[in-house]
Point group: C2
Chain length 205, copies 2
Amino acid sequence: MDKNISMAVIRRLPKYHRCLNDMLERGIHRISSKDLSDVIGFSASQIRQDFNNFGAFGQQGYGYNVEELFFEISEIIGLSKQYHMVIIGAGNLGGALANYGFEKLGFNVDAIFDNDPEKIGKKLGNIDILDINILETYMSKNPVDIAVIATPSSIAQNIADRLSISMARSIWNFAPTDISVPDEVKLESVHLVDSLMTLAYLLND
Amino acid sequence: MDKNISMAVIRRLPKYHRCLNDMLERGIHRISSKDLSDVIGFSASQIRQDFNNFGAFGQQGYGYNVEELFFEISEIIGLSKQYHMVIIGAGNLGGALANYGFEKLGFNVDAIFDNDPEKIGKKLGNIDILDINILETYMSKNPVDIAVIATPSSIAQNIADRLSISMARSIWNFAPTDISVPDEVKLESVHLVDSLMTLAYLLND
């Protein structure tokens, strides 16, 4: 795959996926470039440019076949594969993420880690809560594509370091702090507070 | 306040806030433009431009006073005020958001709404779970700055419509669908699945 695709394009792919999925659920099978543009909120030329990054697809005269486009976008994102996830932190957020339903998209939560003796050995839904002390042992024996950090900020960098040394392929960080990882570890952070602060600013604007 | 500040600048403010907060916790009281740039990952000229939007502050020859800068950024974001929040949906995610600790920043969750008779009348932490049927009545009697949608996708637009008619000032949407609201309602969406898909793409890149 072309390695030079910008993060801006990559971050638009999930929105295409979501909008096309909504269309399929509403029984829409074919859509013109213009209608797709209206629904998705990107210009028709933006959409064309985005798709051109991945080779020509869609048929402009007749519009797009929604199923085909949905399938192709899913393939590009990598949704035809299955992913192994672990969650560090069995608190409210860790529990919400464990039960979110990501497995429907192929993201399977295999284990949750915590340091609380009250939680270790129990389950969240169907998922075992394991002792954080065996994180390295677990990771040496099991594939982990995505390690989710749902811990307090104070220990997030330490957990990220342990995950990186244990060869986690990627980290999905929910702790409200900036963590750093080696180049070979992919990192996505979800800063809920950033989003909330943006809303506060807009309320006062 | 200048109404022409771009969303790109606004979305960088929380990152300034977070980095300055980290510095204060680490006991750093003064920082040069260059060091601030290194820590925050924006160029020194970007930082200068961002700050210029809000009037001159900081002293370039001597660097920035971290406390002052943190205070000014907090003021700009609107963190000197208190905000009333309600959460729609008392599921795992609603519960995680109710217990996240946003009140430390002045965002107070006053009530949670759900349609499940098993949940209505109970509490999540200290917060009452109310019947979704009384949403409109509640909103006519209580101030709501931010209404959080933590419901399934299928009902998210309906809830957004009810909130908009009830004069919610803003909506923080966590349902994995795109909702639309009238211009006067501020909207921020957190699409967790988008972030997860971005990570999937990067894993296959």
